[in-house]
């Protein structure tokens, strides 16, 4: 084995650094081209934004994605139905359980399986808990991108309580793979209900803290208010969903308006909207959303029905021939699966409609005319998970 000399190592490190420097290129013809990414702290992964600048202002911007494309739609075609949940766990990795639900619901719709009430309720609880795990990190992360360190630590600290509860049920902190066609893998462990209620209190305290520390912060408001305004008609035509749509004043939540197979119908909760459509509105709606989610979970825990958590399903699952599209209100927005079955043990074609893909397609539009520091604020407030863009 040859040893590298100091000079060789230095030359190597310099070459690496030179590669890195290519990332920011200067163009002199008409303005400057600023390249953010693929490796940039503000992009939660490998997203590349190329912005053409005139002074400090963005003239045009383009988003280049696909650095993490894993081809799930193709992979689903060679997997059996129970194996697909393992794949789709990794789409939105902060709220993994929520990814499984629409797929399972679509398969159940075609198989015409009626899920036991208890399974439905526990499913809804875990669905909302993945919302907490996802969005609580959003607010900390957003603050971090704008230069505030503390909220990120607080978010990681309090999110842990939610993850612990998810882990206690499913055995997995990030990739539960717990949802099954016909119900759930297991029932809740003993003592879980009381622990979860305590965790919900913690999350509500976290929300109050974030209201003061982040949303109420003067600097935060100056960075976010009036920045990246997306009017409702633009949001709709780009297919923005979730808090991004409700932050533009569109009162639409699939949990309330198109509840399929989950236990939202008997609960008392509110869908929050904000008329402004700016970065602040989107962040504000998200914080309200996790507060509502804790209320939803509390009510579900109070009225948890007894009984089985699994319907009778055949051991080898074959979904009858047909097509189904089921979408749910995931932490990031509308997520749906268009499932085509040919009566086989695996799907014929799965189209994954992920929220972030549509949410981020508006970026070239919304970045036009903003200032460079606002790029970070807008990308942060649109909130995407790379796995949800590059499926």
């Amino acid at each position: 084995m040859t040893m590298l000399t100091d000079a060789q190592q230095l030359a190597y490190a310099n070459a690496q650094a030179a590669d890195g420097r290519v990332n920011v290129e200067l163009e002199t013809d008409d303005g400057m081209v600023l390249n953010m990414g693929p490796q940039h702290p503000a992009t939660h992964g490998t997203l590349r934004v190329v912005a053409k600048l005139d002074g400090e202002q963005v003239v045009a911007a383009d988003v280049i994605c696909g650095y993490m494309h894993r081809g799930y739609e193709k992979l689903c075609e060679v997997r059996s139905y129970p194996q697909v949940t393992t794949l789709v766990n990794r789409i939105d990795w902060l709220g993994s359980f929520a990814n499984e639900v629409p797929f399972i619901l679509a398969a159940e719709q075609l198989m015409e399986i009626e899920v036991p009430d208890r399974a439905k309720w526990i499913r809804t609880i875990l669905f909302e808990m993945s919302r907490l795990a996802n969005i609580s990190l959003f607010i900390g992360d957003l603050a971090l991108q704008l230069g505030a360190q503390t909220p990120a630590f607080l978010a990681f600290r309090d999110r842990e309580f939610v993850l612990n509860q998810i882990e206690a049920v499913t055995g997995g902190r990030f990739h539960p793979n717990f949802d099954r066609i016909g119900g759930l893998k297991d029932d809740l462990p003993k003592g879980w209900v009381a622990d979860t209620k305590a965790a919900m209190v913690r999350i509500r305290e976290f929300c109050d803290l974030m209201d003061d520390l982040v949303l109420g912060n003067e600097i935060f408001q100056m960075r976010m208010r009036g920045v990246g305004v997306i009017p409702a008609h633009v949001a709709l035509s780009y297919g923005l969903s979730g808090a991004n749509l409700r932050g533009s004043g569109v009162d639409w939540d699939l949990r309330r308006d198109a509840n399929i197979g989950l236990a939202y119908d008997q609960l008392d909760w509110k869908v929050w909207t904000h008329p402004d459509g700016d970065s602040y509105a989107r962040s504000w709606v998200r914080v309200q959303e996790i507060r509502e989610a804790t209320k939803i979970i509390d009510q579900l825990l109070d009225g948890l029905p007894g009984g089985a958590v699994m319907a009778k399903v055949p051991r080898i699952i074959k979904v009858p021939e047909g097509e189904a599209y089921v979408a749910t209100e995931n932490p990031l927005g509308e997520m749906g699966y268009y499932l085509v079955s040919k009566g086989d043990t695996g799907p014929f074609r799965v189209k994954i409609r992920s929220a972030s893909f549509n949410n981020i397609s508006v970026v070239p539009w919304v970045l036009k005319g903003v200032y460079v520091p606002d790029i970070i604020a807008i990308l942060g407030s649109l909130y995407f998970i790379l796995g949800d863009i590059d499926r």
């Binding site: 994605c65 696909g66 494309h69 081809g71 739609e73 193709k74 992979l75 075609e77 060679v78 997997r79 059996s80 719709q109 119900g183 008609h233 633009v234 709709l236 035509s237 780009y238 297919g239 923005l240 749509l245 569109v250 009162d251 639409w252 699939l254 308006d257 198109a258 399929i260 089985a308 699994m310 319907a311 009778k312 051991r315 021939e321 047909g322 097509e323 189904a324 599209y325 979408a327 509308e334 749906g336 268009y338 085509v340 040919k342 086989d344 043990t345 695996g346 074609r349 189209k351 409609r353 893909f357 549509n358 397609s361 508006v362 539009w365 590059d390």
Partner: protein, 229 residues
Amino acid sequence: MADEATTDAEAPEAVTDERREEVLAALTDALGDAVVDSLIKPGLNLWVRVATEAWSEAADVAAARLGFRFFDFLSAIDWLPSPYGRYEDSAVDTPFPPAMPDRSAVEPGYTGGDTRFQVLGSVAKPGTDLRILLKADVPDDDLRIGTWTRTYAGAAWHERETHEMFGITFEGNADLRHLYLPSEFEGHPLRKEFPLLSRVIKPWPGIVDVEPMPGEDDSADSEAEGADA
């Protein structure tokens, strides 16, 4: 008993879905003969197949006249059965592509169709659970169809994705660069004849797992009982 069970099961089927019927009637009214076929699953979804030439117009009508202003997604379906088989048929994992299934093997799904490729788009009405799943045939010899970008700005990226994955060209969408794939990538990965390379290189390892262990033959029954308890 059996007869009673079937009538019970069929009773909810007979329920008509007036809201979706209305949507379909309005769409048919506006598009006329361009609506080729349709299907309503009461309480669930509405499928409409429109003529190839009317693909863009259908989106216009849905957005402007019917209020389906929310763009959901746009993609395509390749109805040809895969020549590679599924994981159970791992014997076909060879580096040489097996013979392509005959064109006659193409079997379309809901609302029928005459071509191998169909585009599939979905639009929704904000504030409701109403959604139209629109389909249109893409002619086999000329994979072209109109664009939705005039109506829905968000369709631009979806059409880019569909273009690279299936090779379908959307006329009127000027920007059909690759979205996910490297710009020099050749082929259309979501077509059924495109091999899943990892599967070609290495046979499916999970095949061992599905062989029953000795004495485990009756475990299916005991598991089903366990779920009841």
